[in-house]
Structures are given as structure tokens and as C-alpha cells.
Amino acid sequence: MSTSRRPSAWVQLAAVFRKEVRQTARDPRMMFMLVAAPLIQTLVFGFAVDFTTDHVPTVLLDRDRTDVSRLYARQLLADGTLKRTLSAAGPDEVDRDLDDGAAAAAVILPSRLAADLGAHRTAEVQVVLDGTNPNQSTVAGAAASQYFGGVVERMARDRLAAAGRAPPAQLELMPRISYNPELKSPPYMIPGIAALLLLVVTTVVTAMGLAREREMGTLEQVMVTPIRPTVLLFGKIAPYVVIGFVDVMLLVTAGTWVFGVPIRGPLPVLVVGTLLYLLTTLGVGLLVSTISRTQQQSFLAGFLFIMPAVLLSGVMTPIRSMPAWLQAVTLVNPVRHYAELMRSCLLRGAGFGDLRVQLLALAAIGGAVFLAAALRFRTRLG
């Protein structure tokens, strides 16, 4: 009989939704952090993150000082991977430049280089790398060995020709790169960044928002109203779903306008994927808020989830670089699936058929997390 006096679920839902929207929109700082902050972060990320390694500061020690050694030095530095910033007079100076970080690579051309090569004696070029940044030292090392490998091959060819023998067959690799032929960083980074920011914004805000209500005791006040816990839950979450979609739209638009990120795939894929993803991120936020008492705790706990989820998402570093057991762990990471979905849909133009694995995974993870969160939320309130 009490149910007859209760307003219908939809009316209740609309009321909670309205209250939540009003509360959020009234605080301009809140709107700023929900909408403007992710946009700013995307722009900073887009401009800052460039993993292509070139212009490695290089110190050159040319102990030969002949036309040959100068030619080698010039050609080696010509492609821009290594960039000469210093010239050293002796080995001590090379050490010092590497120690204080003035250079990250050193190329040492031996004395008598030209003379030895002319006399068919073996000469040894030394390349010293600063290994503190393995990414950089690998690229610098590869550039040096590739250049000198070519020199060796050419010399060998010349000598064979001089000896009157036919040179061997020569294989040449011609790369053709699809989707992002100039290998620019933003088109590759921005879809992933969108996944990360959406996670940070929605998870932390739901977790802390609910913990705040509990701290201030307003959650108890709502509980004495006839609103059912499930309705309360959906009403509280619905505004963030809307905000999540607004954020995705903003980020993709900014990516397209500012960084030239293409949109090649069908938009419905993005919509469905985003919806399923938000189910997880909001669910985690809810779950965190039910296990923590204060805002501080819910923030830290939220971060404890966000941190590994971000690191194991393949956004910052390739998943294929992880050990096999860790790769298996990433399968339950919603961020991984959503980032793949975004990247694949925007850049490669993948549709529902290509992305069914990611969509199914997102649905399964999202459903499970949200169900668990909703059940816990209800028992906490009931």
C-alpha cells in the first residue's frame, strides 16, 4: 500500500537526476574539472608526448681529422637521430660530457682511420651510449650500427668489384605504412589518452562524490525519502554518463581539429564502446565509495585501481612488450579494451565485426563490476 503512494520509478529517477545535475552545475569549479580539465590535459598530452627519439645529443671525438673521418661523421649525423652538440678534444672530455648529461651518446673515430682503411687494415669505431634512458640508447645504437653497416657493405662491394668479382644480390626493404604514414604521435596517443582521462574523471568523481555525501551525512537524509536504492543509484550515475559522452565528443573533436586525428570507423561503435566502458569506470567508482569511509580514502583507493589500469593499458607502452603472464592480466583491464577500440576505430576504421572481442570484453567486465557495485551499494543503504 505504501507503493501506491510512492511516485513511479521514473519520476524518482528524474528527481535524483535533476538534483545531481543542479548540484554539479552550480559549482563552476566542478564543471571545469569535469569538462575543461580533460580537454586541457588532452592538449598538453598531445603536444608533449612524442616518443620518437631523434636529436640525441652526441659528442664527437674525431682523432683522425681527415676527409674520410669528417665524411663519416657528417653522414652519420645527417639523418637527425644523432645530433652533434659537442666536439671533444680527448677521451676525458667525452667521459665528462656523458657524466654530466651534456651528451647521451659519443662517437669516437680512431686516429689513422683513413690510413688503416686505405691500407686494408681493420679500423675500430667506438660508440659510447648513456644507458640511463634505454629507449634512447637503443635507438641511438641502432642508428650508428645501421649507418656503419651500410658503410661496411659498400666497402665490401667496392672491393669485390675491384677484384673483378660479381657483387652479390642486394635486398632492399620498402616499407609502406598504413593509417598513419608519417608516424605522428598524436593520432596514436590521443585515442588512448581519451580512455585514460575518461577513467580518471568518472571514477574519482563518483567515488569521492559519494564518500563526500556519506561524510556530510546527506546520504542518510536521502535514505529516509521514499526513493529506492536502485533508483538513487541510477539517478546519481546518469549525469556522469552524460558528462562522459560530452568529454569523449570534446576530446575526439579536439583531436581531429588540433592534431588531425582521423575518424575512419563508424561512430556507433564509439557510442556503444563508450557506454560499456562508462559502465565499468562508474561501477569501480561506486565500489570504491562503498569500501571507503572518507574522501581521502576513496581517492587513494580509486588511484590504486587507476594506476595499474593505466600502466597495463598499452596506451603509454606496447602491451606486447610485457611478459606473457602480465599480458594475460591485461585481458581483464577495461582500459586496454577501450583504448584498443578507440584506436582501431578512429585510425584503422574498424567496425563492429573487427572489434567484437573488445566489445564483448567491455560488456562482460562492465556488467560484472557494475552488478557487484550495485549490490554492495544496496546492502550498504538497505
Binding site: 574539472m33 580539465a37 586541457i40 598538453v44 598530452f45 603536444f47 608526448v49 620518437t52 627519439t53 631523434d54 656523458l98 657524466d99 681493420t122 679500423a123 669505431v125 667506438q126 660508440v127 651510449l129 648513456d130 644507458g131 640511463t132 640508447s137 641502432a142 653497416g149 666497402m155 665490401a156 672491393r159 669485390l160 657483387p167 652479390p168 644480390a169 635486398l171 632492399e172 626493404l173 620498402m174 616499407p175 605504412i177 598504413s178 593509417y179 608516424l183 596514436y188 563526500r212 571507503s292 572518507t294 581521502q296 580514502q297 588511484f303 590504486l304 594506476m307 595499474p308 600502466l311 597495463l312 607502452t317 606496447p318 606486447r320 612488450s321 584498443e340 585510425l347 584503422r348 574498424a350
Partner: protein, 369 residues
């Protein structure tokens, strides 16, 4: 001094009475270090490569054996060049090697052959490695084909590559110093911002002001326990890094702690400033994330090379204290640098600490007047 001690004791009680915060603050660094050490690496092996062998000769099979024989590229089977798009979209392969129909004949006639490599450019980091690896492997096949011919000519020029400080090129050594900066920024800024903003929210800050404790004493007392937590975290990260990932400590531990201390004070001051300005935990979190976490992650040179950024961001990175901390810690841990090299970094974090503490205390005072 006694009053500072009392404030610190009160704050410590807060932290200890609810140890969940403490656990989270101390568990987080270990979890992050673990994940960074194992999970974050840029070097990729076993990249799936599809082969479109249009020649199907003895020679082309030998080429495929060389290219996929090493662990770097792994064959996922035969494919038609037209299938490349579908393979990429489903993530089945990252590249397709196309061997032309006349490959065997041309090799036999000692001619030049062009092999095509169709690559999926959507993951820039992976494709860069595919290109470098494929190039090296094809070069290896050229040398193998040349075999006896080139060997007779002997390699006239040898290149010796030495890698200092981190010969095995392990990512953990690179990341631990950066991670310290990140964890410190996270704990210091956010914990203080949240605690102090929490006191504003609950109104207990006003109660504190009714006591004879001066503003500066409140600030120092409130920051002290978090300074201890932060220093513990720093030690934890280095100890864990040394134990699990063999991160060396080649320089002076004293200098390490000194740089860490100043950085921490600066970050704590920044957290205080945020809390005074926002007075709301939710907003404080976002302000903290935007002003300290993100810069510490992105503009410090921790993961992303600073040299490649556009100049406005490079300029901005000069006022990010994490940049100096990361540089100093790398120098101390990996290179064994001393004060003679690292004094600019120490000076930078010290200046930042003093400046921020001054501004935040001033703001704090005025807020109450």
C-alpha cells in the same frame, strides 16, 4: 616548538587512527614500482608478421627463415597482400612482408630486389621497432646470400657499441628515479591538499584557529607527518628498486635524501596552497592532479623525452620541480654523480620549496585575517 610538536602529534594520530590511508600511501609505491618494473618497457619481441610469399622458391623460403628465425619477428602464417587491412584491424599481425614473384630469379642473377613491408602504423612505437628489426634482418639475409663473397673481403670497419650506466638497457633502471618523483608528488600534494581541505570542509580549521597556535605552527605541524610518510616512501622505492630490480645506488645516499627532502617540502607546500585556495576536497584533487601529477608524469622527462617537446612546453618544464628531481636521482643512482654536477638541481628544488612554502603560508594567513 612544543606547539608544532602537538600539532604534528595530532595529525599523526589522525593518520594512525585510520591506518587505511597509511596503507594506501605505502602500498601504492610498491604496487607502482612492481608494475613499472615489469610492465613498462618499450622493447618489443615476438612481433606477429604475416608473409605474402608470391615466389614460393627455395630462395624466398630461406629469406622467410632468416626474417622469422630470430625471436624478434614471428611468422603468423601466409597471407594475401590484400588481406593486410583485415589482419591489422583484428590485431592478428603488425606487418606483412611481400616477397615479389621474381625474387628467386633475381637473387640467382645477383640483381637488386625490392621487398615490400606493409606495416600497421596505428601503434607508432611498435611500427618503429618493426621497421628497424625488419631492416636489420633483411640486411642479414643480404650478407648471408653474399656469404663467401663478402667474407673474403673481410669487414674493414668494426663498430663497438658500449652502453654505460645501464648496459643491459633495463627499463626499471630508467623508471625508478622518475617513479620516485611521481610517487612523492602524488602523496605529498594530494594527501596534504585533501587533509587540509577536509579540515576546511568540516569546519575544524576554525577550531584550530581559536587555539593559541600560530598559523605557521599549524602549517609546519600539519606538514610534518606527511614529510615523514614521503621520506619513508622515497626510501621504500629505492630499497625495493635495489632489491627486486637491482637498481644501483652509485652516488651518495645523503645527497639523495637531501634532494628528496627539498622536493618533498615543495610538494607539500603546493598541496597546502591548493587546499587553501580550493577548500573543497573534490576540487583540490583535480587541482592537484592538474598542477602536480600530470606535470610530474609528462614534463619531468620521467617517461617522455623533453627534447622532443615544442619549445613552450620545454620552457614550462623548467619550472616543474620534478624535472630537477628526476635528473638528480638518475645522476645519483645510475651515474654516481656528486654535488659538483648536480648542484643546479639541488638549488632548483630548494628555491621551489622555499618559494612555495612562503606563498602558501602567506595565503594561509591572509585567508584568516
Amino acid at each position: 616548538m612544543i606547539r608544532i610538536g602537538a600539532m604534528a602529534a595530532k595529525e599523526t594520530l589522525h593518520v594512525l587512527r585510520d591506518p587505511r590511508t597509511l596503507y594506501l600511501a605505502l602500498v601504492m609505491p610498491v604496487v607502482m614500482l612492481f608494475l613499472f618494473g615489469y610492465g613498462v618497457s618499450f622493447d618489443v619481441d615476438h612481433l606477429p608478421l604475416a608473409v605474402a610469399d608470391l615466389d614460393r622458391s627455395e630462395a624466398s623460403r630461406a629469406l622467410v627463415r632468416t626474417v622469422t628465425g630470430a625471436r624478434e619477428l614471428v611468422s603468423v602464417g601466409e597471407a594475401d597482400p590484400a588481406d593486410a587491412d583485415r589482419l591489422f584491424r583484428r590485431d592478428r599481425a603488425v606487418a606483412v612482408l611481400v616477397i615479389p614473384r621474381d625474387y628467386g630469379e633475381k637473387v640467382a642473377r645477383h640483381e637488386r630486389v625490392v621487398l615490400q613491408l606493409l606495416a600497421d602504423g596505428s601503434d607508432v612505437m611498435v611500427v618503429n621497432q618493426v621497421l628497424a628489426k625488419a631492416d636489420a634482418l633483411v640486411r642479414a639475409e643480404t650478407l648471408r646470400l653474399a656469404g663467401i663473397d663478402l667474407a673474403a673481403a673481410a669487414a674493414p670497419l668494426q663498430v663497438k657499441i658500449w652502453t654505460r650506466y645501464n648496459p643491459a638497457g633495463r627499463s626499471a633502471l630508467f623508471l625508478v628515479p622518475g617513479l620516485s618523483a611521481y610517487i612523492l608528488a602524488l602523496t605529498a600534494v594530494l594527501l596534504t591538499a585533501l587533509t587540509v581541505a577536509g579540515e576546511w570542509e568540516r569546519g575544524s580549521m576554525e577550531q584550530l584557529f581559536a587555539t593559541p597556535v600560530s598559523r605557521l605552527e599549524i602549517v609546519l605541524g600539519k606538514l610534518a607527518p606527511y614529510l615523514v610518510i614521503g621520506m619513508l616512501e622515497l626510501l621504500l622505492v629505492v630499497a625495493f628498486g635495489a632489491a627486486v630490480f637491482d637498481v644501483p645506488v652509485r652516488g651518495s645516499l645523503g645527497l639523495f635524501l637531501l634532494v628528496g627532502f627539498f622536493f618533498l617540502v615543495g610538494m607539500l607546500g603546493q598541496g597546502l596552497l591548493i587546499s587553501v585556495v580550493t577548500r573543497n576536497q573534490l576540487v583540490a584533487t583535480q587541482a592537484g592532479t592538474l598542477s602536480s601529477l600530470l606535470p610530474s608524469l609528462l614534463l619531468s622527462g620521467m617517461v617522455v623525452p623533453i627534447e622532443n617537446m615544442p619549445w613552450p612546453l620545454q620552457l614550462l618544464s623548467r619550472v616543474i620541480p620534478a624535472r630537477y628531481l628526476v635528473h638528480a636521482l638518475r645522476g645519483i643512482l645510475l651515474k654516481g654523480n656528486g654535488l659538483s654536477v648536480l648542484w643546479p638541481d639541488l638549488l632548483a628544488v630548494a628555491i621551489f620549496a622555499v618559494l612555495v612554502l612562503y606563498v602558501s603560508t602567506a595565503r594561509f594567513q591572509r585567508r584568516l585575517a
